[in-house]
Amino acid sequence: MGFLKRLASVLTTLFGISVFVFVVLRVIPGDTITSSLGIETGVLTPEQIDTLRAYYGIDKPLVGQYLSWMASFLSGDLGFSYSTGAPVWDLTKSALLVTMQLALFGTILGVLIGISIGMFSARKPGSARDFLGQFFGLLALAIPGFVLSTTIVTVMANKFQYFPNGYEYMTPFEDLSMNLQQMLFPSLVLGIAVAAPIMRTTRSALLETVDKDFVRTAYGKGVKPRIVRLRHVLRNSLIPIVTMTGIQFGYLLGGAVIVEKIFALPGMGRQILDAINKREYATVQSSIMVFAILFVTINLITDWVYRKVDPRIK
Amino acid sequence: MSLSINNVTKRYRIRARKSVVNALNGITLSVEKGRTLGIVGESGCGKSTLARLIVGLEPPTEGSLLWSGSPLGQGVKNTFRSRHSKTQLVFQDPYSSLNPRQTIGACIAEVLKTHKLRGDAEISARVIELLAVVGIAADMQTRFPHQLSGGQRQRVAIARALAAEPELLVLDEPVSALDVSVRADVMNLLVDLKNKFNLTYIFISHDLSMVRHISDEIAVMYLGRIVEYGTWDEVLNNPKHPYTKALIESIPEHTNVRGIDFENVLEGEVPDPANLPQGCAFHQRCPLAVESCKLKVPELLNATKSHLVACPEVLK
């Protein structure tokens, strides 16, 4: 597939996403004003309601509402936060940085842990070490992020009196050391969650590749076993591992919602959660759209890595 | 009654490569009832595409396929059933041509029930009869395909095709996937069935020795076209087209120890079907090629009354 075709497909997906977000967040809940202002609607004068309706654009038919939302979204106007009055985009910029840092650290940790344990397990399938590796994978899969986070917070804060997330959040530019300490546990929680499926993929990909004809060819021509494992087995196994990492990234962004809440990080997840609780629909809608764009971008990158790893895909 | 294939062309559009593959190009053939037409060629020559067209799995892009005058290939809805029951197909790989989750008895009974070929009371007797015809004992009918050997599965596939009471049987490499020592048995069975049920066969194979064994007429295909056609004797004992000659010479015969000629080997690879050379598709590999071969696709012309060759150079 050519680049243009790929781009066209991404744009179609984004279009679909925007329609979906619009339907879920604006059409299904019904009248935004009544639901967002709740019982307070009664205290507004009809003129005020009309002004607000015009401001939110909900005096227009649905298609018109969609178009005006998209038009302002694309021009960088994500709307205003009802409670603070600040432009959503200003809030989003700093929150995005937090979430991306978290996601990046989480992915790196997850890939490192996942691939190492996967290789550790696959070396001797059916052995005690394999059992150990698989047991870790299963637990990492089954213990929810919020349980792990809560446990870490409880143990660290109460038994070791160490809880960097209790202090005000620092960006890496303000205080790098503090920032890294604050990122440590959240990234670890996300990393462990991501490591489980990567570990399983690594293990099964390695075991499948070991039996491939070209591995036999490599042994047959006298290549040293260590080199066969790295150059032939691992390199070919990377293809499904890359795919799985891409998929997990989406999970990780979702996990960020919970982890950011527990560890008090001002990221996208917490922004959306707060907005939901405060019933700020403009913020929710635009933030979710930003999230989706981020996710689609990650998919594009995965795709690019995939092509690098597998020369058969043009 | 006969099969006539008139000027059939099949094109596939390959979207990813933005190209068009001419899998079949102006194929014209006819088979008289009770005869066996052998079709031989290497991978990419279009022989399996032709098989799918004859049994109606796909429509031709151009041209028509008629069985005793009525259309075969085109999807005419109201004749769906009759069309399918007159031509049946036996696939190469007996491991994948039977539903793995159906017993072999159920698989044959399903054909009889669906087309109401027998009353409910007679179905089980008919299943046993069909299995007996192909040499499978009645107590095997409760087995699943994975419990049978390759040869047995191929017999079941043949019995299932016969259940539909076909007049024309298309055999697409029916013994190529079988063990050498069971091939002869299945070939003999095919010959017996043809005589017993007065069937017409189209026998498709890359294996010239099998085609030679069973065919009355033989068509040699290369890259979507017929390059030579005639009685088996004419095509194999007096081949005209340089490709047919190379094909025959390439078969290592066990009856002729050290007989294969390794000095004069047909060089080159089969061109990409999506990117065929101008003129005769064979000219780049052909020892006889002249300038004119690069310009014009040669027509099938008569060498004798029944023997057609698509090479003007050998007819001079």
């Binding site: 349980v147 979710i288 | 793995p100 159906q102 669906t114």
Partner: protein
Amino acid sequence: MKTSTGRRDWVHYYFKSTSGVIGLFLVLVMVILSIVSALNLAPIDPLEQNPIDALQGPSGTYWFGTDQFGRDIFSRSIDGMSRSLSVALLSVGLAAVVGVFLGVVGGFFGGWLDNLVVRASDVIFAFPAILLALAIVNSLGNSWIDTSIAIAIVYTPIFIRVARGPVLTVKEMDYVKSVRVLGFSTPRILIRHVMPNVLAPIVVQIALSLSWAILTESGLSFLGLGTQPPDASLGLMVSEAQALASFAWWTLAFPSLFITVVVVGLNLVGDGLRDALDPARRSSG
């Protein structure tokens, strides 16, 4: 060559795997506890408050201890489990029916319909699952049916993919081609010849999706969406335990254990089924 009938082979094979049996046992224990709770047979009413007994450790009366209102954590845990399992069953049931139908039909017929199905599932895939569920619950409401619908929407595309992939393969298999040549009707081909051969990965996916649905449901209630107090829910209990765990470990430990046990069990069942239903993994005969 074996002479058994092949059809029941996978059951036999499943029970040969220790981890599969353990998984089934764990799931069954949780299911039975849920039924006990659903039939109001729990030892203590999960909503009953006994302020005198607040924050008691595990004992003969309160097996898992009590929370800050003196409510019995064991009864609340099995009540929460029954709520989680109900949501998981309904959501995965919906997702499987809709997803498998769309996947099979799209894969088998292809064309614009298939394109639409694939595009639509791409769109849903472009959201992190919990975020999407969050947004939908937020729009629909907090009842367990709303939660189930939200989770069903999130997991439908997975079933579309799991069904569509094998259909594309099976459609090209010679045995499907040969029944087409035999003139069988399309519904018959789909139901009798395509479906039975794509069922295995779907069954496995159901087991795995149940575990994900439980994780998603408990995640949502942890965040305060979904089940509302005073009703019991495992996620909500963990959320409330955040403030209590430092001096009452049992408030965190037991609800967490329940979630983990049922998810481990479902995953083991899924893996066991995958091995038992895949003929390639047991083809030593």
